[in-house]
Subunit: 194 residues, 2 copies
DNA sequence: TGCAGCATGTAATTTGTTACATGATTAA
DNA sequence: TTAATCATGTAACAAATTACATGCTGCA
């Protein structure tokens, strides 16, 4: 096999794009909308990753595209998955050790709550709660996850998002008082105890 | 200010290292252990990010270090935070829009459950459950999060990890049946309906 | 008049991961 | 003797984000 370097067998932006195309042809712009809505909260991607991903997939024969002219609007490149692409997708899907990674500035900041004052902590938490509420509202509005005709995976994942966001909210509300409690700032004390 | 490019005001590996040093001097190796245990699950970092981060911090006067010779063991570079570093840390800590990002191959794969067979799904989920259980056991073993003497932030964050992992587990167990249900694979149907 | 939406892409930059490189000690 | 722990670092690579670049239409 003569790929550009080594061909991936993991779930990256390329593989997700491939997967989206099993639902029918779409343009990069369409996929971006999908990443913004349903996919975005657990697998974010912007134009800067989608367009190069599509270009690579096309170079390797995983997808085909058709230039669709539109009146008054820019042309669209409408991509379709090929047989080869389908096989590649299946390889990406069989991944028993699929990761689930979190990178949270929010928690990293809160870890050092004893160095901050209550107002700073409260503001950050309040904003996070607003963010969560917006997300919960958003997730209920997507028909491609919530209707009975939606694929089982989409329903499962949307439900997961709802559940985890709800629990995120609940934990914060039930425990935020702990963070603004008075606590002696004892820099270096714990280290000295070693 | 004449930084190397533009100095960060976000919570990155550098800022976290700075924060860890408020608890007392430490080496890169020490910090790695901290990233592996308490920090790792919400803010992962390896040697490849820690050592360069420390080098940059030292170049910019945010930390100082002392070479500590040891008998039989390699030398340690023991870092301490400076006054300048403390100020920089506070800037990183005041970040009302701190992010909380998830990147989940696991959910991305499951989104396409209708393209997979039940065994593949089951194996992936079973492994994930084992992973979660291992994490839950791990998090209960760290005294720097669970004892009363631990800073409030650490206790809050550890509790968060415990809560979310528990809920992760619960959702999966309660809903996994949905994923292996029979479902007609209707590729392109939903697209055609548009 | 100005902004939002449609639509594509490249280039620069940032950031992190993985592999490489070294080398002594200690316990199994 | 083999692996693990201690301990630091660089270089190559992969990946994603951000900014840049273009340009028309329709609405307020």
């Amino acid at each position: 096999m003569a790929g550009p370097s080594r061909w991936n067998e993991i779930m990256d932006v390329k593989t997700v794009c491939l997967g989206m195309l099993t639902d029918g042809p779409a343009s990069g712009y369409d996929m971006k909308k999908c990443f913004e809505s349903s996919f975005g909260h657990f697998f974010p991607a912007g134009y800067g990753s989608i367009y190069p991903a599509l270009a690579t997939l096309a170079r390797n024969g995983m997808v085909e595209f058709e230039n669709v002219l539109q009146s008054g609007k820019p042309d669209r490149k409408v991509y379709s998955i090929t047989e080869k692409g389908r096989k590649e997708l299946m390889k990406g899907l069989i991944n028993p050790n699929a990761t689930h990674r979190i990178r949270s500035e929010f928690l990293a900041v809160l870890w050092f709550a004893h160095l901050m004052n209550a107002e700073q902590i409260d503001e950050m938490i309040d904003r996070k709660l607003v963010e969560i509420d917006a997300f919960l509202q958003l997730i209920d509005e997507f028909p491609d996850c919530n209707s009975d005709s939606a694929p089982k995976g989409a329903r499962f994942v949307a439900g997961f998002g709802r559940h985890m966001a709800t629990q995120f909210r609940e934990y914060i509300e039930n425990n935020r008082a702990l963070l603004v409690e008075d606590e002696t700032i004892e820099t270096g004390q714990r280290a000295a105890a070693r």
